[in-house]
Amino acid sequence: MKARCLQEYQPRKADGTLFAMPFVSERLFALRQEGKKALACFVTAGDQPLEHLPTILGALEAGGADLIELGLPFSDPIADGPTIQASSQRALDRGVRLSQILEAVREAQVRVPIITMGYANAALRNGYGRFAESLKAAGISGALISDMIPEEAGEWRSAAEAAGLDTVFLTAPTSTDARIAAACAASTGFVYCVSRTGVTGAENAVPLEVGELVRRVKRHTELSALVGFGISTAAQVHAVWECADGAVVGSYLVDLLHREWKGVQSAGMVSQAVAALRS
């Protein structure tokens, strides 16, 4: 177990530039100690005007998100289904850039940790070190790179560790035990369990086998195990909570924001939708 000890944990003051962003693993541990399950909410940065992003993040927290996954738009999102692909394309069509996204995140007044979810080329292009530092400087707590496997991640992990950024790696139903062990060893925030083979997107049912994957993951780590891909209803969230430490909801929220977001006055609607996922 490599969770950071508490004296290392120095929350930053909300003095205008940065707000306190607890480390991902600690936030999730705290929930577990209280006997609670986590809800992680994914939105694509820049699908709505970036000046609305702080309000959107705040609305997710107000609705009961324990963790926010912020999607960084990429031109070629091979792990994403139609909903998130389209949101990513809309953000790029809007001309959104990483620096602008990070600027908007800085403005956000949220206490729950934010991790980014994106693709390897953005990190490589910026330089792993600069990418990790710029995320951390914006108050982001961790990063998940969808197409980065532990074998390729040596340089990335060093850069993230140096910047004080948590890393999250994915496990899948196809992963061997050796691969699960490697993903667990490389992760510091939590371990992401992909519910099924496939891309992101809403499904009618979460496969029962995901419980087995979570059990296999738990044999290798004390970190929390969160399940994502295909989770879009309260019933599915609760089904995942039966077997895992938390559930990630993405495409459902992306679709809701795309259809219903009319500006900052829609914040209440978003909070209610998140609250409904917990109920």
Partner: protein, 397 residues
């Protein structure tokens, strides 16, 4: 350069290659790598492959001395005739090999991406032969400009799925094929059409294409009495180029020249020449030269030839460029069109738009009297007749 050491165990060609894919696919890539290593060293499997080379594809393909081009240019031009392969291009060398491997692995369903449609047709052909289900992803724009090949694939029993996302060309067809594979990985083998993608694809595709150069080398020694001065091939993903280059890598006096798609000109930004004007990046599972903006977003490409209209390139080419073992230049749409008409009239050979880029390099003043230049004619031009007649009649040719 120690060629026996590439790719290394991690699938690295120097700094390039590797595996940047969703976790779900990694066990399938491991399984594929193990299966290919085993098959490649299995003499029985190799005999079966060779049988198909001879009796299905029609190998060895001829080496033609281009008498009229040679007279005009003042140096010898030798043409490796991959256009005479069954299905009309070098693509069947790879598709048939991978289909044989998929059959050995017990996979019943095959998917592929295609740009110009040549890889799609080759894959559909192999699937028809082996009774496999075949789904080909093709960008909507390419479906429009390569309708003949769309019809051929459907006639061969393949399902052609137009891809409407992104730039609607080869890049996005590849994205969609990868998404299909990540979803259906248990039942499905993905026949990647070029020496791109995550390890083991760049290495495996090169292994399946390297006989182009092996044959050409033997033929040059026999017909020309020596090695060529230079070997020239077009480069999109780069499979025909690596296929003909590979046998000559150790012959340091043989220049290796790859010709990328210059589109409307490198200076206009409307091209598909990552080795000439890109930078290292990660796309479709491997690290190589890539056309991208400074935020790491992959930028749109342009080429008259659908098969070269791709923002990335195989990692082995990236390594050869950095090691200066191969030279990479580009030819514009205009130069390719001229070469297309020139080869047709001079030699009675109608090349694919892709291959015409390689011939355009012959007019660059790179060679001198006494040189013997080997050009890979990777495919025939039948698929491009409709586009060519439209464009060339507009230009009054």
């Amino acid at each position: 350069m120690n060629l026996d050491a590439v790719p290394n165990k991690a699938g690295r060609f120097g700094a390039y290659g590797g595996r940047y894919v969703p976790e779900t696919l990694v066990p399938a890539l491991d399984e594929l790598e193990a299966a290919f290593r085993q098959a490649w060293s299995d003499q029985e499997w190799r005999r079966e492959l060779t049988h198909h080379h001879r009796h299905t594809i029609g190998r060895p393909t001829p080496l033609t001395h281009a008498d009229n081009l040679s007279n005009e240019l003042g140096f010898d031009v030798w043409i490796k005739r991959e256009d005479l392969c069954h299905t009309g291009s070098h693509k069947l060398n790879n598709a048939l090999g991978q289909a044989l491997l998929a059959r050995r692995m017990g996979k019943k369903r095959i998917i592929a991406e295609t740009g110009a449609g040549q890889h799609g047709v080759a894959t559909a052909t192999a699937c028809a032969m082996f009774g496999m289900q075949c789904v080909v992803y093709m960008g909507e724009e390419d479906v429009q400009r390569q309708q003949l090949n769309v019809f051929r694939m459907r006639l061969l029993g393949a399902e052609v799925v137009p891809v409407h996302s992104g730039t609607k060309t080869l890049k996005d067809a590849t994205n969609e094929a990868m998404r299909d594979w990540v979803t259906n990985v248990g039942s499905t083998h993905y026949i990647v059409g070029s020496c791109v993608g995550p390890h083991p694809y760049p290495w495996m595709v090169r292994c399946l294409q390297q006989l182009i150069g092996e044959e050409a080398k033997t033929q040059m020694l026999e017909l020309a009495g020596g090695l060529p001065t230079a070997v020239v091939a077009c480069v999109g993903g780069g499979s025909n180029a690596i296929g003909i280059f590979h046998a000559f890598l150790g012959d340091e006096n043989v220049r290796l020249i790859g010709v990328e798609a210059g589109g409307e000109g490198i200076e206009t930004g409307k091209h598909a020449a990552p080795l000439s004007a890109g930078s290292p990046g990660i796309l479709h599972g491997s690290c190589s030269y890539l056309m991208q903006d400074d935020d790491g977003q992959v930028i749109g490409t342009h080429s008259i030839s659908a098969g070269l209209d791709y923002p990335g390139v195989g990692p082995e080419h990236a390594m050869l460029k950095d090691a200066k073992r191969a030279e990479y230049l580009s030819a514009t749409d205009q130069e390719a069109l001229h070469a297309f008409a020139w080869l047709s009239r001079s030699e009675g050979i109608i090349p694919a738009f892709e291959s015409a880029h390689a011939f355009a390099a012959l007019k660059r003043g790179l060679f001198k009297t006494g040189d013997a230049v080997l050009v890979n004619l990777s495919g025939r031009g039948d698929k491009d007749m409709e586009s060519a007649s439209r464009i060339l009649s507009l230009k009054g040719v």
